[in-house]
Subunit: 448 residues, 2 copies
């Protein structure tokens, strides 16, 4: 049911590995990005739960196999290969960083060690799962950072890249620190808090704005939030104030939000409603929230949509999935500006820097001052879950704690010269040079 959700070449290569007798060779692939995305000083890992679900379900139905056999690219491929696909289950090992871990360039989010056939086919799904959710968790963390304790809620599904992307964006945004999402499917699937107000259509659906407000107050009681800009924001605020309690707050969705929030705050305060909140929406992002904070605009909560669900200012993360070891042989690619480091790696996090070391078992880089934590932990061994994954609330807390520990400059919204330090262990550098030399490439290339 999930096997075809991959790139064709993963399947043709798999057929080739099968014919070459290499399908069962044990391969190690690492998933990482080469460079931080534009405007980002760190990335927050997310999407592991969906990777584990996918690996548990990975299979091909008979109908899917019939489809593959109908393709010209599989003409002449022996039936034994399709039998192998029929039997395919993920039987390998998965090591991964916890969701909510800050990640830097070149550090594996996860490492797959499995028979080559399995490890190759899963590439596409793993990249799209980790890349997307990490992108959104990171974007959310930026907004939460500048919101300074005020609530940030995900309202982005409508602008997400497909409805399903909206569901997953809500999950990732929560890990990144949002208090919840408007997407009820996200709430249902993942147990994430859901929030909502009312739309302009609600106001328009009643003969008068007053009737629309009164109906909403009756319906939602203490959770009532009036959307006050359908016709005129100031008139809407006065109407809200005149209707009294119960009322959680009002929502501003257009105009100059700094000025309007002040005017609306005054109207509410003058009516003795100091505890009634002001929520702002309308194409918000971390830059606007930062300006509101600087202007001390009296806004208590932010509903963010488009910019969160699509990470508009930096809409993709260049994640790659690279073969680093096959049957015990370390390997790498040396393409111009795109070479990779050979061998399975571990990432050790020290107080203010990381060290990437050359193998799972490698403890070659001494902890030095402070205590080093090994970030890649076993998740699946022999296809079986080692222990239940942390709940999404635990991932969210882990993200908050981990971000708290990052150097201040790295937590800035803007580019910084004080890059986070990622070292390579001496053994890793030596292995890189050895593999490069074996490929006869020392003449052509220099190590970074």
């Amino acid at each position: 049911m999930t096997g075809l959700l991959t790139d064709l070449y993963q399947l043709t290569m798999s057929a080739g590995y099968f014919e070459a007798g290499k399908a069962e060779e044990i391969a190690t692939f690492e998933l990482f990005f080469r460079h931080l995305p534009r405007y980002r000083n760190f990335v927050l890992a997310a999407g592991l739960e969906q990777v584990v679900e996918y690996l548990a379900k990975l299979n091909f139905t008979e109908e899917e196999i019939r489809y593959l056999k109908s393709l010209p690219q599989f003409k002449g491929v022996p039936e034994e290969f399709f039998d192998a696909l029929r039997k395919l289950r993920f039987t390998g090992d998965l090591f991964a960083m916890r969701e909510g871990t800050p990640v830097f360039a070149g550090e594996p989010f996860l490492t797959v060690r499995a028979p080559l056939l399995e490890a190759q086919i899963v590439e596409t799904y793993l990249l799209a799962s980790i890349g997307f959710q990490s992108l959104i968790a990171t974007k959310a963390a930026r907004m939460v950072e500048v919101a300074g304790g005020r609530a940030v809620v995900d309202f982005g599904t409508r602008r997400a890249h497909s409805p399903e992307a909206g569901v997953l964006a809500g999950r990732a945004a929560y890990i990144g620190g949002c208090v919840g999402t408007s997407n009820t499917e996200t709430g249902f699937r993942y147990g994430i808090p859901v929030f909502g107000t009312a739309a302009h259509s609600w106001i328009q659906a009643f003969a008068t704005e007053r009737e629309a407000y009164e109906r909403l107050q009756k319906l939602l009681g203490e959770a009532t939030v009036y959307l006050i800009d359908t016709y005129d924001t100031i008139a809407g605020a006065k109407l809200a104030a005149s209707l009294g309690r119960p009322l959680w707050g009002v929502r501003l969705d257009s105009g100059n939000l700094v000025e309007l929030s002040r005017a609306v705050r005054k109207i509410l305060d003058d009516a003795g409603m100091q505890d009634v909140k002001i929520m702002a929406t309308s194409d918000l992002n971390e830059y606007k929230i930062l300006e509101f904070a600087a202007a001390r605009a009296p806004i208590d909560a932010f509903g963010v949509g488009t910019d969160l669900a699509t990470s508009t200012d930096s809409p993709n993360l260049g994640v790659v999935y690279k073969l680093v070891e096959l049957n015990g042989r370390s390997t790498a690619k040396f393409s111009e500006d795109k070479h990779t480091l050979p061998g399975a790696k571990q990432v050790f996090r020290f107080d203010s820097y990381d060290c990437v070391a050359c193998s799972w078992e490698c403890m070659g880089c001494e902890p030095g001052e402070g205590e080093a934590r090994a970030l890649l932990r076993p998740v699946l061994l022999g296809g079986k879950l080692v222990e239940p994954l942390p709940a999404v609330t635990a991932a969210r807390q882990y993200a908050a704690d981990s971000i708290q520990r990052l150097p201040t400059a790295i937590r800035s919204l803007f580019d910084t010269d004080q890059k986070y330090r990622v070292e390579h262990s001496a053994e890793l550098v030596a292995l890189y040079e050895k593999v490069q030399s074996e490929n006869g490439l020392l003449r052509h290339r220099h190590a970074d």
Copy 2:
């Protein structure tokens, strides 16, 4: 199974409509964007098929209803409302532009006319479906435009906003003019051609680059494409030339593609392989393809990934879904910079401009010279499909023909002062003023 994939407020508003006795009132909503996205002179409509699938499947399971009842927002909502959700099916009308239609600001992609409860709940899914696929179809059309007849293939799933977004991006890219996609799930579901080459891991998996090439040639025959940059592009090209046929082509994935394509072309030509093709990949987009075209780089096909699947330079489309009529009463919102036009509309396309008229039946704008086509056509009536939707190949052809007819300036990659003309019929302008006046707003606001 699909009911919860919406924003919470759609469901709380629905409960409110139900309690107010308004759930069955006939509502008309239009889905459109207010402004063209950054760097776009037109948008190509796509995603209608997924909207129709969703509307056909829309329902709530008992488990989903239990979830809703557990939420604080539904405390005190009467059981009758949940019964209404249990029985919910889409029974309304859907009018829509064909997939592949160029769309401009303010023109409805689609119009929903249905009981208010149904019409409200579907908003989120419709926006995310149409918004995303239209974004990607548009991006693909730009690449195809500048590729000037050379093949453009979607390789973007790995960088898409979730695996499912990758499947749908492949579909939308095909409608926009790509020759196909690497995503086999897209091929399987929608009958779209699938393509692929081989990855660096393939080259690395064999002891020598020569063995990797030979194995691929044996496997794929005439469809063989060598990826020649794993170690050294020029050496890879010479190796490819030495192995002879069968061979479809070689793929370049790093370095200066203009210079490398010339050098590789010469190596292939010198070996008498003038018909062997050169494919380029590596973070391509329409701007780079335009430069290759201007430099006359001998590249025959383009594989595009990240920038296509995420529309990187313009990663979202501000689609909205607005109530324009309820129980025969025209309505609009008048929020600052965000007002809408009341009443159900039709879009008439003339040879070089469009006219938006004030109702379905309105033929108020005379065809004038040339023949006007009414772009919104009935798709569902009373919840039933009027006729089968055009196949995705027909949508692709319709897009190509429609783009061909657009003014040259509109087809440019870059901003143009020669905007496409969209007129409003006199009746529509009069209706806008009437509704505004009824809301007592003429004092505050001016019509556009």
